[in-house]
């Protein structure tokens, strides 16, 4: 199933509308963004004029289960948890970069070149994954 050939019905509707009205698609995107910003501004404005406001000293203190807060807000995490970030980068960030590749792989001028480039990209990530596997991080605890 090629991603470029299948557009959702909403995409098709917006695209048809844009082409019919003769405006550039970027204007449509800008219109959607503007609508979102206006909606947010309306909601916050309604809150500003309608919401009650009653700040007291106790209300503004830091929450600590009803008792006086002690210590600082910062807590130190053990550095070994960086491995979660490492595996996240290998899998999730990798996947994010694979999605745009899927839109150009069928095109005649970019397809084969993108295949070679993505192979290099995935190999670099595989080196990191192999390191993690060698260290025993992929074994179930």
């Amino acid at each position: 199933m090629s991603v470029s050939g299948h557009r959702g019905s909403l995409d098709r509707a917006l695209l048809t509308l844009t082409r019919l009205s003769g405006v550039s698609p970027y204007l449509t995107v800008g219109g959607v963004v503007l609508a979102g910003v206006l909606l947010f501004a309306a909601a916050m404005g309604a809150r500003l004029v309608l919401a009650p406001r009653a700040p007291t000293v106790m209300k503004l203190t830091t929450y600590e289960c009803g008792v006086d807060p002690v210590g600082e807000g910062w807590a130190q995490t053990n550095v070994r948890y960086f491995l979660y970030a490492f595996l996240y980068v290998v899998f999730a960030v990798d996947a994010v970069f694979l999605f745009p590749w899927a839109t150009v792989i069928r095109s005649s001028d970019l397809g084969r070149a993108s295949l070679v480039e993505m192979a290099i990209f995935i190999c670099v990530l595989l080196v990191g994954l192999a390191h993690a596997a060698r260290r025993g991080l992929l074994r179930w605890v």
């Binding site: 009650p52 209300k59 203190t61 929450y63 289960c65 009803g66």
Partner: protein
């Protein structure tokens, strides 16, 4: 230490807001209560039973188990309030954002209940925080909590928020702190000793 905070007030457009807006806001507020369950004792178990499948209070719009007071607008005090717990209840009630409501669930929270004679029980949570609905029982059945929630929803439906009401809730009749009022009555012990005639204050 004096803290400069503005007086409690409602938004400026509340007086001019047309009635349909007030009706819509009351409707939204009463059917989307997020409950901060202050479960202290046996009544907490009945509260949990009311949140579960058979007597589900989520169908009334009440979402259970807010993560903390700052995300809640309804506080259900269920169980015996001991004197040790009382400051925490007051502090957590203070940390809830306006507009907030309190249901006192069970006879211990209403008035001390079977422990009315104890040395260490707060005789009713309304000695600490303003309560909107009292649900009697020891423990009340989950259906009683459902009725209490419905009663609260009726109360919210007919309510009309006003700046005066909010200020009255925060002891609006007091315009100064107690320290400012009593300060002239106290003298500095050092000053008292050095003054020859023992000036009366």
């Amino acid at each position: 230490m004096k803290v400069e905070l503005p007086m409690p007030r409602l938004g400026l457009a509340n007086n001019d807001a047309p009635l349909p807006i007030k009706i819509v806001l009351n409707w939204g507020r009463r059917y989307s209560l997020w409950v901060f369950n202050f479960g202290l004792a046996c009544c907490a178990i009945e509260f949990i039973a009311a949140s579960m499948a058979r007597h589900d209070f989520m169908r009334l719009g009440v979402i259970p188990f807010a993560p903390g007071p700052r995300q809640a607008d309804l506080m259900v005090v269920s169980g015996t309030v001991s004197d040790k717990m009382a400051p925490a209840i007051r502090r957590l009630y203070d940390q809830m954002p306006e507009p907030k409501y309190v249901i006192s669930f069970g006879s211990c929270a209403n008035s001390g209940g079977p422990y009315w004679d104890s040395y260490c029980v707060t005789k009713g949570v309304d000695t600490l925080i303003p309560v909107d609905v009292y649900v009697p029982g020891c423990p009340p059945r989950p259906e009683a909590l459902l009725q209490g929630i419905i009663r609260l929803q009726e109360k919210i439906a007919s309510e009309s928020l006003s700046t005066k009401a909010i200020r009255a809730k925060y002891a609006g009749s007091r315009r100064v702190t107690s320290g400012e009022v009593t300060r002239p009555l106290l003298t500095n012990p050092q000053a008292d000793a050095t003054l020859a005639g023992g000036e009366q204050s």
